[in-house]
Structures are given as C-alpha cells and as structure tokens.
C-alpha cells in the first residue's frame, strides 16, 4: 500500500533556527531519504516553500476566488511529504516515527486511495467512479 507521510511543523521556529541547527536538520533528512530509498519503499518526496508563499483558490458555481495564504492558518503547517510503498499501516507508522520532523512536529500518515487495477489515481476520478 502507498502512504503519504505529511510533515507538519512550526515554520517560524524552523526558519529562525541557527545555521548549525538548520544544516543538522538537512543532514538528518538526507540520511532519512537515503534510508527510505535503500529500503526500496521510496515513491517520492518534496519539501515545500513556507506557507506564506501559498495561494488558495476556490471556484464555487464556476466563479473563482483567489486568496493569499494557506488553506488553514495554523501554527503547524505542512512543510513537506514522503510518498512510500509499504505492506501495512504499522510499517508506515514506523517510518513516520523515524522522520526527523516527528521530533519537532507531527507526521500525518494517510493511505493513498487505491483503485481496482491497483493503480493510484486522482481523488476526483476515484470518487466519480463509485
């Protein structure tokens, strides 16, 4: 099964960290990414720009509105993700616990919506086919 590990953390603290702490963090993430790849479960990962760079769009009734800022203003923001392919939730949870972000914030573990053919597709089309 594929799981998305979403890394939530306090951006302000992260951005105001000392240079030494930041490079230590980056080294920890590099090692973590390597470990995931060596385990053969890596599907993808990315770090996101801070939430202040976010723009949120809604288009009710075909009328789109664009707002500055993230979907929800919270102290802990989504800062990055890993997409991994492991046998079950326990395996996903144990990888989430090893993520450097778990020590400072929280990792939300979400299963990817699987389809009949075993492929992973967009939520919209999965919802449309039931």
């Amino acid at each position: 099964m594929q799981y998305l590990l979403m890394i939530y953390g306090n951006e302000e603290r992260m951005l105001s960290a000392t240079k030494e702490a930041t490079s230590q963090m980056i080294a920890a993430y590099t090692a973590y990414t390597e470990a995931i790849k060596k385990a053969g479960i890596y599907v993808g990962s990315n770090r996101l720009q801070p939430a202040r760079t976010a723009t949120t769009v809604r288009a009710p009734n075909g009328k789109s509105s664009v707002l500055d800022g993230p979907y929800a203003e919270t102290k802990e923001q989504l800062g990055g993700y890993y997409l991994i392919d492991v046998p079950d939730l326990d395996a996903a949870l144990s990888w989430a616990a090893r993520c450097p972000g778990a020590a400072h914030g929280a990792i939300e573990v979400r299963p990817i919506w699987a389809t009949k053919s075993g492929e992973y597709q967009q939520i919209a089309s999965a919802q449309g086919s039931t």
Binding site: D88, L89, W113, A114, K116, S129, T130
Partner: protein, 442 residues
C-alpha cells in the same frame, strides 16, 4: 400442605430442567461462536475487510441452517462454511466493483480457503491477530471494546449499544467507521513483535477489561445482556491466555476478572441492598472461581514480570484470604497499592490505598493520604473519593464534615442500592456517633 410442597418441588424441577436446556442452548451457541470467530478472523486477516467477512459468514451460516437439516451436518462443518463464505465474498466483490476493491486480492483469499479446506489440520486460529487489529493504536480507544464484541463474539450493534449506553445508530456508525479504517488505512492483522508487544497487548487487555467492567457494573444483574458481558469478558481473556500462554499480564487480567466475578452475587443481600466488600460473607463468594484466579495469578507470578493487572488481582487475592483466615490482609493490600500507585499514578488507586492505610495506621493517616489528593480536579465528582472521605471522617469523630462528604457522595451515586446504603450510613452518624466503619468503596 404436602400437595403444595410437591407442587413447589415440581416447579423447582421444571425450573431446573429449563436451566439445563438453557445451558445446552448456550453450549451450542458457544460452539457456533467459536467457529464463527475463527472463520471471521481467518477471512478478515486475509482480506482486511472485517465487514465483508462478517457479511459473507452471516450468509454462510444462513445457508447452513437451510441446507444441513436436509443433508445432515457435513463432516467438516467449518470447511463447509468457509467454502460457502468464500463464494459470497467473491459474489459480493463482483457486484460492487467499486474503485476501492483493488486492495483486496480475492484470488489470494480463494487460494487460502482452498488450502485450509484441503488440509486435514484445523482452520488456522487468527483470532489473536484480529484482536490486535481491533485494539490497534490507530483505532479510537472508545470503540476497541465494542469492535471486539462484534468481530469476535458476533454481537449486533444494538446489543452493544445498549450495554455501553449509546444510541444504536451511533454505535453502528462507530463500528462501521472503525472497520473502514482497518480496511482503508491498511491496519495489519499481526501479533506485534517482542519490542511492541507489551504496549499493544495492554490495549487488547484494556478493551477486554472494558467489556467485563460494563457487565460487572450492573450489580443488581437486572440487565441480562450486561451480566453476560462480564462472562464474555472472561471468555475473551481466557482466549488470549490460550493463545499467548506466557504473557503474565494476560493471566493477571483473567485472575482479576475471576476474583471480581466470584463476588458478583455477594454485593447485594436478599432484599437487594448494597453490601460493601468488608461486610460480605466470604461463604457467599464463589470458591471455585477464586481458586482458579489464584492458580492463574501464581502462574503469572512465576514469570517474574509484574504489571497492573497482576497487582490488581493481587489486591483481590488479599481480600479473598478472609475466606480462609477470617481477616483481610490490609498490610499486604497497602503494599500492593504502593506498587500500583508507582506504576499507574492513578487517583483511583490512591483512594483505595488511603482506605487500606486507614486499616493499618488508623483513619487519621488515611485522611492525610486522601488530603494529599485534594487538588486533583477529577476527584470532585468521583463518588468513591467522597464515600471514602466520609467513612474516614466518621471514624475520627468529625461528624459534621463526614455528613457533608456523605451528602456529596449520595448526590454523585447513580446506583439506587448504593445510594440507599450511603444515606443509611449518613443517618447513623447522628444515632451512634462515630460508628466503626470499613471500606465504603463498592
């Protein structure tokens, strides 16, 4: 006179044979349940689809009820049921063909059923794996016990709802949500490895204890469903012990439940009045259950890993010695509560410890121990705290303060029999002054 005696004897014998028939009925139900839970676990562990496994087996049992009276019971009833259930599972999957079905590998299940049916060995017992899935940390703690009642014991949502005092629709929704979570989040059906086992097993034991406690908390035994829950809790505990025979805490939990169960009837007198533990006649305790509890606790003790359930069972055991020696071993009880308090830091344990301390060191020391808990806000509406305080204050002769504490306890107590008892104790304060009192905790 003689005629009436004969009549009443006949009535008792009719009652007795009705009871025998009931026992037989229950034995059959138990056997059916044993098969049911094994088969649900077998299918669910392979498909992760608990609801699907339940539906398929429900259909299979219905088919058996229709077929077996005509054809006779097959040589291997479980294999017959499994084959019928497999057919239903595949039919249902074909009918639904929804986008989510991809995670269930039907061929894999079909092969597993094939192999199990072809083999002469009994169907593999995956119930422990099912229990660990039901009590997985990713499952809402409040729904773990109901989930076990449904998947392992086959209770319907309505029965579970009434036992847990929840609206049936709400309980139904919670159960559906939990089963969906197991399937969609990929919660594994596995016995955790050594490193994880203690914590995970604790969640399983906690859920089983919750099942038992729901049943035990109906002392008047007016509600048959809830009384049965206590027995079901013990049954689940025994199941865990049979599958994990060298886990001392599992043994401890069963010992604890058996000790409590042994005193079930003794909590009320013939008129339905509440009888506190200290006033119970040991002859009214079930000696057979107590002896079994003691044996299990000894077995657990030899494994040299202590824990919450063993310690709680040990306090019960120290109370139970009164049946042999005529007095309760309060010194031992204080010691055990000390250990429990260090382990759990629970205010409930602290109250029990204070009451025991009053027995060994006098009521003033007990009150001082209670006073140390004074700032725990959780105790403000916790009846046993106020009842314990009232009892100890009465013994120190502080009638006014005792009255106040009794009023608080009476106001918080939901059980009418216990309420009546507390009211009587409060009234006695003025009559006899500081009466000799013992533990007030029901």
């Amino acid at each position: 006179m003689a005629a009436r005696r004969a009549e009443s004897a006949a009535a008792t014998s009719t009652q007795r044979s009705a009871a025998v028939a009931m026992d037989a009925q229950r034995a059959i139900e138990r056997a059916a349940r044993d098969s049911y839970s094994r088969l649900v676990a077998f299918l669910a562990a392979r498909s992760r689809d608990v609801a699907g496994a339940e539906d398929a087996l429900g259909d299979a049992f219905r088919a058996a009820l229709e077929t077996w009276p005509r054809t006779g019971v097959p040589d291997k009833p479980e294999a017959w049921l499994l084959v019928a259930a497999r057919r239903r599972l595949i039919d249902a999957a074909r009918r639904r063909r929804s986008a989510e079905e991809g995670s269930i590998d039907l061929q894999l299940i079909a092969d597993a059923v094939e192999a199990a049916v072809a083999s002469d060995a009994p169907i593999p017992d995956d119930r422990l794996r099912l229990m660990f899935a039901c009590a997985h940390p990713a499952i809402d703690p409040a729904v773990r016990a109901p989930l076990m009642l449904q998947t392992i014991l086959g209770f319907d949502a309505g029965t579970i709802a009434s036992a847990f005092l929840v609206a049936p629709a709400t309980m139904g929704q919670r159960l559906v949500r939990a089963k969906n979570k197991i399937k969609q989040a990929g919660i594994p059906f596995r016995v955790p490895d050594r490193a994880e086992l203690p914590e995970r097993l604790d969640a399983v034991l906690e859920a089983i204890y919750a099942v038992f406690a729901e049943g035990w908390s109906d002392p008047a035994a007016t509600d048959v469903r809830r009384r049965n829950l206590a027995e079901e809790g013990i049954w689940l505990g025994r199941l865990v012990v049979s599958l994990l025979p060298s886990e001392p805490e599992a043994l401890g939990l069963v010992a604890l439940m058996l000790h409590a169960e042994a005193r079930r009837g003794a909590r009320r007198d013939g008129d339905g009045n509440y009888v506190p533990l200290a006033k119970q006649d040991p002859a009214s305790w079930d000696a057979r259950l107590i002896e079994e509890a003691e044996t299990l606790l000894l077995r657990a003790g030899r494994m040299n890993v202590t824990g919450r359930y063993q310690l709680e069972a040990a306090t019960q055991s120290a109370h139970a010695v009164r049946r042999l020696t005529g007095c309760t071993d309060w010194a031992a009880i204080v010691q055990i509560y000390d250990a429990l308090l260090a382990l759990t830091a629970s205010p409930v344990v602290a109250i029990n410890r204070a009451v025991a301390l009053a027995e060994t060191h006098g009521p003033a020391d007990g009150l001082a121990a209670l006073a140390a808990l004074g700032d725990d806000a959780r105790l403000a509406d916790y009846q046993p705290y106020w009842a314990a305080r009232a009892g100890l204050l009465a013994r120190t002769g502080d009638i006014g303060a005792a009255e106040e504490a009794y009023q608080q306890a009476i106001g918080l107590e939901p059980d009418p029999a216990v309420r009546r008892y507390l009211q009587q104790r409060c009234k006695d304060l003025r009559v006899s002054g500081a009466a000799s009192t013992n533990s007030e905790i029901p």
